[in-house]
Symmetry: C2
């Protein structure tokens, strides 16, 4: 297909497609003359993925490049591909080496050891959790292990479902698109549902007077 | 106690305390002369709460004022007090009345009806969830009811735990402090744990080659 059709079918403006071509986020089409090229379904798939990462996950281009390189490197297995996507889409957490950070880090490490979860020491979500424990401690809350265990168990069920829906036989672009949506957006859904669930439990247990 | 001791014990600078007094977020102390006043443990408790809301939940002063007014209004029962805190700490969601919004809203309504959850039509978390479903649809994902049900069940267990820890006999400031921490920070913990759980499940199911 010509670039105009690629634009129409992907919903991405021609100027933006040209920008992605210059930045080598999208491979060149097959040249049919000095000024024209044709594009394949693979281009369309790649373009849709970039769009999903930009619009759905609000990922910066540098992170998108990292993800696309991992898709093209077939030496990277599915587990590492998922990790690349998740790590690229998790914001960096500022941290330090002060005593309160180290103490919170110990809570995180102990939790993961207790659960027996297989998580890399480099996982940004690990630092995220440590940061939250530090902030809670600063405002006077020591997170107790029971709470963390219960939360962990609850989200592990969700994670089993998420990862269970990855189809190892699907094209890698499609897997990445799903994982990006799952990382960026299903987290939001989880938070919203958590708040709605708190309201429901509160309505059942704490409402005074007539229940109407 | 004098304002200097109030500052020392709360960790809030004297200038900030004076600002809160001017803004009427903190009630005046008992005047002992034209220029001096003494403060009680109630002032200290209130000040610690404001600090927790500012630093822990990053709440703007207008939202903090809403929360403090709900604490002082004893006509508001514990359930409505919790709701006030949660609603004040949930960001407003931009929304519209287009067909895709209405369709996503129907998914949210159907989910809550299916679950039988008691949630106000005004809940900001409801709009948040609808917004996420809209964004997912835009990048090509229709969230299936099974996924939402499973997520909902997982977080409801966490919510039972959260609300179960509210002590109805505790001072209202203390309840609010706990609920604010739970809303702003335990959500973060839930998201981090979800990502860690995804990595664990992926490591178990999708890792190629030798498992080391």
């Amino acid at each position: 297909m010509r670039i105009s059709e690629l634009s129409r079918r992907s919903g991405v403006p021609v100027a933006t497609i040209k920008y992605y071509l210059r930045e080598e986020l999208l491979p060149k089409g097959e040249a049919t003359s000095a000024t024209q090229a044709v594009y394949s379904d693979a281009h369309l798939r790649r373009l849709r993925l970039i769009r999903a990462l930009v619009e759905g996950a609000e990922a910066p281009l540098a992170k998108i490049r990292t993800i696309l390189e991992a898709i093209d490197d077939t030496g990277i297995d599915l587990h590492r591909l998922l990790g690349t996507v998740q790590y690229a889409l998790t914001p960096d957490t500022p941290h330090n080496d002060g005593p309160e950070w180290r103490e919170a880090e110990r809570s995180t490490d102990e939790l993961l050891a207790r659960l027996g979860w297989r998580v890399s020491p480099l996982s940004p979500a690990r630092h995220q959790l440590t940061r939250t424990i530090v902030t809670l401690a600063r405002v006077g809350y020591q997170v107790d292990p029971q709470t963390l265990d219960l939360y962990a168990e609850a989200v592990h069920t969700a994670a089993e479902h998420d990862v269970g829906r990855v189809d190892p036989a699907a094209p890698r672009e499609q897997v990445v698109e799903y994982v990006a949506a799952m990382t960026a957006l299903m987290d939001q859904a989880l938070v919203s549902l958590h708040r709605l669930a708190q309201e429901d439990v509160s309505a059942r247990r704490l409402r005074g007077g007539a229940d109407c």
